[in-house]
């Protein structure tokens, strides 16, 4: 069997492929942007691990706003406001002064408790224990690079989101206490 292609048909096919490719790229870029603005994770562990990695990863070249925006993209709104307006302005002068470059790995997520946030329309909450490994210590920290973190995540309409780290005083409730 012989198949004949006219030059015109080949040209049309090439143009069609190019148009589809460009459209796909544009759509991916747009959807990627919207994902970056409001990521909700399918699982609480995903939100906990991503929140921890984003929080502790610092590249002083990026600047305070980029760091806060990354964190806000996977945090609840009140948590985002807290990190953006209170925590970031406090931490970043030290990051810039010491030219901080820290990469972070978070793994071994273990769920410790599930609760309900009655003040947020009975949104489900989870407490996760996560193992944190930093490439280098933070300038404000105690010099450790490996430590456990206890993380609160909250489920919103778009999925699970990072809220905050639990304080040491809160841990008694979850470790060996009420679960």
């Amino acid at each position: 069997m012989e198949i004949y292609f006219s030059r015109q048909r080949v040209l049309i096919a090439v143009i069609a492929i190019l148009v589809v490719a460009v459209a796909t790229l544009v759509i991916l870029k747009i959807s990627g942007q919207s994902l970056a603005q409001a990521v909700g994770f399918d699982s609480g562990s995903g939100a906990a691990l991503a929140g921890v990695e984003t929080f502790y990863s610092v590249d002083y070249h990026d600047g305070q706003d980029v760091w806060a925006a990354r964190l806000c993209a996977l945090s609840t709104e009140p948590a985002c406001n807290f990190y953006q307006n209170t925590v970031a302005p406090f931490l970043w002068p030290d990051f810039e002064a010491s030219q901080t470059l820290v990469t972070t790995e978070a793994n071994e997520a273990v769920m410790l408790a599930e609760e309900i946030a009655s003040t947020r329309g009975n949104a489900p909450m989870q407490v996760w224990q996560v193992a944190v490994n930093l490439s280098t210590p933070w300038p404000q920290g105690d010099g450790q690079t490996s430590f456990p973190a206890y993380v609160l995540v909250v489920r919103e309409e778009s999925g699970w989101k990072f809220e905050r780290f639990l304080l040491e005083e809160e841990l008694a409730k979850y470790i060996g206490g009420k679960q």
Binding site: T76, F82, F90, S118, D142, F147, K173
Partner: protein, 452 residues
Amino acid sequence: MKTITRILLGLICVAIIFVILVNPVLKAFAGEGDDAWGEFLNPDGSINWANLTYLGEESKPADWMMIEIPGGIQVPLGEARYNRYITPSGNVLVLPSPATMFMTFLHPEDSGFADNPPEMLSSGSQILAALAANYIDVEDLQALGYVDPAEFFQAVIEGRENIWSVVSPNFLIEIVRMSFDAGFLVTGLWLYLSGENCDAIPGGCPPGFNLTPTPGGTPTPPPPVACPAPSIAFENVNASGEKVAPPKPVVIGQDPEKRGADVELLATIPPVILTWYEARTTNICEYAPGGNGGGCPGPGSEYNQVIDSDGNETGWSYFMENNSNWEASTETECIQHVEIFPDYLNYATLSINLSSESRNWILTDLAPAYPGADLKRPDWEFTFQGPGSVGGGSIVFWSQLIPDIQFADPGVYQMQVRGLTTGTLVSVPRPFALPLSEFTVDLLRVTLIEAP
């Protein structure tokens, strides 16, 4: 969620706390006629803001506002923030932000609160219980043997219990949000009586009031009250509303398209204007030509101006003490401060009612011609939430279009809007009720005319 919506939610949240937990206490104190509190509390327990002079907001970083996150990293929960007022008799009223209040009671020693406690209407434990009211796990509380949350929080303040054993884990972020959103609406009042140590008052003594003698220094008498009392002024809320389309609406029973009528409502809320006066005193040591002065006692730093016999400014010297050629005096200048607070719309309810004449007409005149004619739905009501938006002159504008209202009864409709503003930091919410324009919904009547 928009910022203003969050602000309103925060205001409502704190207002609920205030109404449920703080206001009854205020009422009790106002009723008892306690002098210090009574001068700015109304008999119904509300705060008479007009009797308070706003001194502004004080904020400062505070070690005791820090929390530790994993890795030994200290981060602040925010700055310690206070709004401050002065009462007519010179007491200082302090309203801490919710987060500041919370951290103060968790760290009474570090915050300095324990050393210089102010007068309070509620105890710290009651205030903590109020702040955390919606976040307490009652079962956990009972399991620990507590029935009254205030008892548990008293144990927290005394270090006998861990607050986090009964409080929901999202409380910490919520209280930060409350501080951002609600500002300083009342969750608790701290009153520092005139004569307290200035170091005890968050932000210190307000300038010009000289509330307390400096330890080891010369007592300074309080300045004479020469300035006008603070005042609050505002214009009335305005509203307009009219039927905007179609030009001649007809009852939907006669309109195959069921067009109905569109009504537009507009409200403008003028701002609340607070005028208060700062008494700024100037201590003067001046040459007394007649030799009948009382002298200018030291220290010289007390004097803002020293004026010699030629009317020129000079420096103070020891020879001016006990010297009848010199006289000390104090001048008080009143500096006027004007602050403008936008007052947002809380809600507005539009009532559209068929006039009584039209009702009678339907029931008496129309019924014989149209058997079965009756009132179908003569009254309509629509409620909308604010807040509106701030425009020029800090006036809040709010408008709402209500399309395709399905009027089934013909006649003249009268409109009225009533509602409530949110209130401001210095004023209570303002109710309003205003009549609006009338409009007519027509009935198409068929008249048989004999053909020529």
